[in-house]
């Protein structure tokens, strides 16, 4: 049924939006494309799995744990790798290359530790019920995904627009040098942003792990590629653009699976990107350009 598909699309789109948000935050504030976000996404899923299986945490706690764990990794990456590169004022490509290496290393380490086969969340943890809302059968899981994504995105938007912290972050996004002169603790906020962005990535990993009920070490890769497409489509550093593009991709992907076939679903994102770039080289929302230093 179409409505069913649309609901699937909504939940998928929410997760994509969440992932893209993390990506966009780092680009907007730190000016870096952090390609280890895919690996962090995967770390979040595995962290939650470990929390449930080894530490016997309930699902909601595992999600919080995943947020914290991924956030920590993101923070470490900022401190150890990105900060020295910032000090050196390296051109944009350099930190990106470093994060490519990190992503690969993390993926491979997890593969070595957990093995390459699919893992699942234990079924007793997954909410199994479904509700019927307005004639559509909706699983509690999907609802939960939408809810969690929604809450996180709303908190983020409110923070960016209405709080002192958000203003400081926007100032840094404009010009880190000017922000420093205004007394803003730029380095501290860089770490915080990395933490939150990685946390969002990790949570989206858990949500996808629940949605598709499959965890594997390379699960972050297709996500990374889709995140890239979402970012370019939605405009780098543009939070609303990232969210909208993420939702858009969710819909496009689910509809294409319904009408074309499921084995090309991962390529839909790139196909879209290619088409859009042919027609509108500046991206859907017209803001494809390098950040002005």
């Amino acid at each position: 049924m179409l409505e069913q598909q649309l609901f699937n699309a909504l939940s998928l789109g929410c997760v994509y939006a969440l992932f893209a948000l993390g990506f966009t935050l780092v680009f907007g504030v730190l000016g870096v494309v952090n390609l280890s976000q895919g690996a962090i996404f995967m770390l979040g899923a595995y962290a939650a799995l470990t929390a449930i299986v080894r530490l016997h945490m309930p699902l909601w706690a595992a999600i919080a744990f995943a947020f914290a764990f991924s956030g920590l990794v993101g923070m470490l990456i900022d401190r150890i790798v990105l900060k020295p590169l910032r000090r050196r004022d390296a051109p944009h490509l350099i930190p990106m290359i470093a994060t490519i290496g990190l992503g690969l290393a993390i993926n491979s380490l997890v593969q070595g530790a957990f093995g390459a086969e699919n893992q699942r969340f234990p079924s007793e943890v997954l909410p199994q019920d479904s509700l019927v809302i307005a004639g559509i059968s909706v699983t509690v899981l999907e609802l939960g995904i939408i809810l969690v994504s929604f809450v996180l995105m709303t908190v983020l938007l409110i923070t960016m627009k209405k709080t002192q912290l958000g203003r400081a972050l926007r100032a840094i996004a404009e010009s880190p040098k000017a922000a420093r002169l205004l007394g803003i603790n730029v380095d501290g906020l860089f770490m915080l942003t990395s933490f939150v962005a990685a946390g969002l990535g990790g949570v989206s990993g858990v949500l996808i792990g629940l949605y598709s009920n499959a965890l594997f070490p390379l699960m972050g890769q297709p996500m990374l590629h889709k995140g890239i497409a979402v970012i370019i489509l939605g405009g780098m550093g543009d939070i609303r653009g990232a969210m909208l593009a993420g939702l858009f991709l969710g819909f496009a992907e689910v509809l294409s699976v319904a009408y074309i076939g499921s084995d090309m679903r991962d390529a839909v994102a790139f196909g879209l990107l290619f088409l859009v770039l042919l027609v509108r080289p500046k991206g859907l929302f017209g803001s494809v350009q390098e950040r002005k230093v």
Partner: protein, 290 residues
């Protein structure tokens, strides 16, 4: 002595020839980097070249030289097609778009199962690659790239790398030159793929994915992009390292990833770079580095 060499060759011939194809791959990324572009699609181009040539020799009985030509032309054509919209993107966007493209190629290869054997790969490719094929390829590519460096094209690449806008205002057709670097890089990667496929007689889609792409990038960045020797040196090290330290074999990917991070942090210009070379006595200030 001859016996020793014979022995050595029978054990290590694959490794030596792989050194050659890896050097080609590193040079292919070097070419795009020398024009200021980070194109992460070269592993995919290698795959396109490998599959094209393998299908032609296996299923259509083409002679090897013709298959090599096709294995170079096809990736170049694909590069031209996807280059048109994507080369308009600058720096970071281009890298990301080409990275995603690589994934799409991999998926397409898996989907076209009847032609490519899908996820299980192609088996039984005729082992047509001789040692002199690889040697000739490396020498020719080095020759072509060296000549380019010393010409107006090489200078244009370097100018574009430093400052695209200023280069354009010097009368350089920036988009044209970028396309040249991109397509030629794709052709070289395709050549490497062709030679490799007919060496190992089996290819599968997992060989041309992200891991491979990062490995090639690591080789080039490790060696340094200031000269042609850098990528060759980098490819030597990255290929030989797992052989020398057998414990690394399983963690090959981790090692590659870490090497990349460490190089970027501590030796950004790579191993073979002008900084320490300038201190060597007798070397003039700059000009074209060796």
């Amino acid at each position: 002595m001859i016996d020793y060499l014979d022995n050595f060759w029978s054990v290590y011939s694959n490794l030596v020839l792989t050194l050659g194809t890896n050097a080609l791959l590193a040079l292919s990324i070097y070419l795009t980097l020398s024009c200021g572009m980070l194109a992460m699609a070269n592993a995919a181009f290698m795959g396109i070249g490998a599959y094209t040539s393998a299908i032609l020799t296996m299923n259509c009985g083409w002679p090897f030289p013709a298959a090599i030509a096709a294995g170079m032309a096809m990736p170049a054509l694909v590069a031209f097609i996807i280059g048109k919209p994507t080369l308009r993107l600058s720096g970071v966007y281009l890298a990301m778009a080409t990275l995603a493209f690589g994934e799409v190629v991999r998926l397409l290869i898996i989907r076209a199962e009847s032609l490519t054997g899908g996820a299980l790969g192609l088996n039984g490719i005729p082992q047509l690659t001789q040692w002199w094929h690889v040697l000739l390829a490396v020498v020719l590519v080095l020759f072509v790239l060296a000549r380019l460096r010393r010409s107006k094209i090489g200078r244009a690449f370097e100018a574009i790398k430093e400052d695209e806008t200023a280069a354009g205002l010097m009368g350089i057709d920036v988009n044209g030159h970028k396309m040249l670097a991109f397509a030629l890089g794709a052709a070289i990667a395709g050549l490497a793929g062709t030679l490799d496929a007919h060496l190992t007689f089996f290819i599968g889609p997992q060989e041309f994915g992200f891991d491979r792409g990062v490995e090639i990038l690591t080789m080039t960045i490790l060696g340094g992009i200031n000269s042609l020797f850098g990528p060759v040196l980098g490819s030597l090290i990255v290929t030989l390292l797992p052989e020398l330290l057998s414990s690394l074999k399983d963690y090959r990917a981790v090692a590659n990833g870490l090497i990349l991070v460490l190089i970027v942090l501590f030796l950004p210009k790579g191993l073979w770079n002008p900084d320490w070379m300038r201190r060597l006595p007798g070397l003039r200030k700059k000009g074209v580095a060796p």
